[in-house]
Symmetry: C2
Subunit: 339 residues, 2 copies
């Protein structure tokens, strides 16, 4: 059996997460029991929700256990199989965690899924055609319920969720405006991801200034907003929401690494009769087939070309993850686990 490098959660952050919260551990992969599969991971997905699980606080997800391999989505191939449904060489997506290999009870629902890589690259199943893509789909289609001609805005626009959101929103005939950090991301959003406009929040020192930029980019106001960041960006967007606007709250990454950020003017929810709704995509498995079908078609036809940030080797996962929390990634953050 191959040796397996893993990243464990060694201790919990106090305030900002740091590299010393993690620990590299090398183990042997165990022999397979009947029904099990040994998967060799090609890519690990790094996602903002993992920061919440590092805390011991009550939240929607159980905390990540100390001294255990960090959880996370993976894609790879079947290296050994004692399960009739999986053959050696099958490409698979699962929840293998921050490690090079995983032993999977492949009969458990949702544990492992074969995927077709003839028209869709394997790594896309961790992004546009995976959890982030379905996240964008659920927020847009089920919470925001866009109408053609409306204006949609998404923060963290060049990330995995934002990229998918843009393609889905444009496909529904909406003006689609992104918010991202820095000129390179904003250029990419417009030139490659199909955004009608993208605002660099780093150019705006406060919510008032960002609000003015939103007014220019959204001359008819904002009907739907997909929230990934919270804080100042949410304050600014709220001032530009049209009556009966809808806000899908998927993440508030700006407040993940320390004290919670307040919402400055909640009375706007009343004044503009807004709906603000939080959601977690893993609680809505019933939409995944429909969402993945649309997302897969968008990727296969070149209408969704999501960018990836790929960190080399499992050892690089902690630093890549800490960078993601600070917006240093540019596109879907992955870790490559094969040479």
């Amino acid at each position: 059996m191959p040796q397996n490098k893993q990243i464990h959660l060694d201790n919990r952050p106090t305030g900002e997460a740091v590299a010393s919260n993690f620990k590299l551990v090398i183990t042997d992969t165990p022999a397979l029991e009947p029904g099990q599969v040994l998967a060799r991971h090609h890519f690990l997905s790094l996602d903002p929700y993992m920061r919440g699980r590092m805390n011991d606080a009550k939240s929607y997800a159980a905390p990540q256990a100390l001294g255990q391999t960090m959880g996370g989505g993976t894609v790879g191939e079947v290296l050994e199989s004692r399960n009739a449904k999986f053959a050696v060489g099958d490409k698979v997506v699962g929840i293998g965690g921050w490690q090079q290999y995983s032993v999977v009870d492949a009969d458990q629902p949702g544990a492992l899924r074969k995927v077709d890589t003839s028209r869709i690259p394997l790594s896309a199943y961790l992004g546009a055609v995976g959890m982030p893509g379905v996240t964008a789909w659920y927020g847009l289609v089920k919470i925001i319920e866009p109408k053609p001609g409306e204006t949609m805005v998404v923060s963290a626009a060049t990330g995995a969720v934002g990229s998918a959101f843009a393609a889905l929103s444009k496909a529904r005939g909406c003006r689609t405006v992104g918010i991202a950090g820095g000129p390179a991301k904003c250029k990419y959003a417009v030139e490659e991801l199909g955004f009608d406009a993208c605002i660099d929040y780093k150019l705006h020192p406060d919510a008032g200034a960002l609000s003015k930029a939103l007014k220019e980019a959204c001359p008819k106001g904002i009907d739907g907003y997909f929230e990934n960041v919270g804080g100042m960006v949410l304050d600014a967007v709220l001032t530009r929401m049209n009556a009966f606007g809808r806000i899908a709250v998927c993440g508030m990454i700006a407040g993940y690494n320390g004290a919670p950020l307040p919402l400055t003017y909640p009375a706007l929810i009343l004044m503009n009769r807004l709906k603000v709704q939080g959601f977690i995509v893993s609680e809505h498995m019933e939409v995944w087939p429909e969402a993945l079908k649309e997302l897969g078609t968008l990727v296969a036809t070149g209408k969704l070309r999501a960018r990836e940030s790929i960190a080399p080797g499992i050892e690089s996962a902690p630093e890549a993850f800490l960078g993601l929390l600070k917006g240093k990634n540019f596109g879907k953050q992955l870790v490559r686990l094969i040479e």
Copy 2:
């Protein structure tokens, strides 16, 4: 024609509203044109939304014009009529404003409505069987969508909206908890309005303390919250919301009289996958017949016995209104306009 005492908005508040923003004016009532009705008002309704209209800011309602009679709901009787649908002596509900009489173009939709006072007192059409009652109904039935056995909470519990909310919530088999200011209001809420428990927010200096009191009163957490006040109360309730809870935002009176109050921990919307939705009942006229039917039955059968605070005479309207903004009223705030 009788002389008519009116209260005009003389100037706009800077910060807190004060009595000198208003001005008493005496005019003659004009002669009726064809189709018009002269209504003599018995009661004027005072409502928190009027504070927003005193500002010149963009809001859902057009600002109250300076030098004009303050708008507001009224009930009374027809004194003269040049409209075939209304006879002298008919009891009517309308939007007559802060004055003793109004001349109404009675053919305009929504301008004037005849009401039956055989089983429902006339003043109730400004409260439980009027706009406040329908407000409670819409928030509970259409936004919160309660299920039997769930726990519902309402702030400003002994007000016109809160009273109706309690009767409607209990009728749906929900544990119903109020939040009000002072022991007399809390006692009344439980003994007369049917609340299962009522928390005196004045006993709790901050959101943390109020949150603990909510935990005791709501041992199974909170599934639905009807928001009338905002500020510290909303912060406290948010910490006790169950997953998939619903918050109907009807008012944020705590922030009406000055600087807006922030929401301390908006990430709870995401963590608990909440829906937070603002609404204005006048935009949902389609529900009024169904809502008024249920509310009228609750009043006629004694299941909804809403308390009234009655100020004497049009001259007392400004002070009564300023008291309402500070929670000095106890029950639906009215002004009696007849001897």
